[in-house]
Symmetry: C2
């Protein structure tokens, strides 16, 4: 295994978990900044050409994990690997953001759902997507249609 290192930190409008939109129909239009450490800035070369990025980050304010839990979008419990719960065996979060612009080692993005100060573990280009018609969304689709 390896010891994770933060490659940077997220500036986000959210300072409390309760203020992050969650559950069915939650929109993630919030803008934020991914501030990359100066020692990693060279790794951002050419990132400007991508419209969307994967951000891997640390749930640094979650403690422990539970294998079954009820997410905010449903009142039935689900397995942790079928949800985006922060209380995971490896507390890694994943968010797709839209890259608005880069200024040196700051990436201005839209779509943040992380808390302010969250450590960033990795950034990858978002390259392709599964066609919507090929997607099944499990319990989430059921929960939506039950509303």
């Amino acid at each position: 295994m390896f010891i994770p290192v933060p490659i940077g930190f997220i500036h986000s409008p959210y300072t409390e978990t309760s203020s992050i939109p969650k559950g069915l129909g939650a929109r993630h239009d919030a803008e934020g900044v991914l501030e990359i450490g100066s020692e990693f800035e060279t790794g951002l070369t050419d990132i400007d050409g991508f419209s969307h990025l994967y951000v891997l980050w640390l749930f640094d304010r979650a403690h422990g994990f539970e294998l079954i839990g009820a997410p905010p979008s449903d009142n039935r419990p689900h397995g942790v690997f079928a949800t985006r719960s922060p209380r995971r065996p490896n507390p890694i979060g994943l968010t797709v953001v839209e890259l608005l612009r880069r200024e040196n080692r700051q990436l201005f993005v839209r779509g943040v759902d992380m808390l302010d100060g969250t450590p960033i573990l990795d950034i990858k280009p978002y390259l392709s997507s599964i066609p919507n018609q090929a997607l099944r969304r499990g319990w989430l689709a059921e929960a939506e249609s039950a509303q």
Copy 2:
């Protein structure tokens, strides 16, 4: 930070990096099995309802990182955060797979691009996609159109 733990391991047809399809036009149709540790099996509850999953995994046979490198799909060097290079500051891989079926703690999937025996760090439901027409694919689109 945290100490990553494997939640399971990947059975894949690929035993050497050189046998994994890479570069432009690479197809990832290979089938494999995500075998989850018995202590985490409960976390798979309800995962069967999703057609596609994110798999976070460890580049366990990569050593060190480089901030700039030439990927197989281009002869120009790019920043590591604009590529899927295994030599990353945090050696975490990300793959979207199609879930074919579940048998207890084995998930049969299509689309593996990991080496046999790769440790799994996390599984998350793949929920939504960015419309293709809204995507810009940076240097990769340029490299493709130059062919």
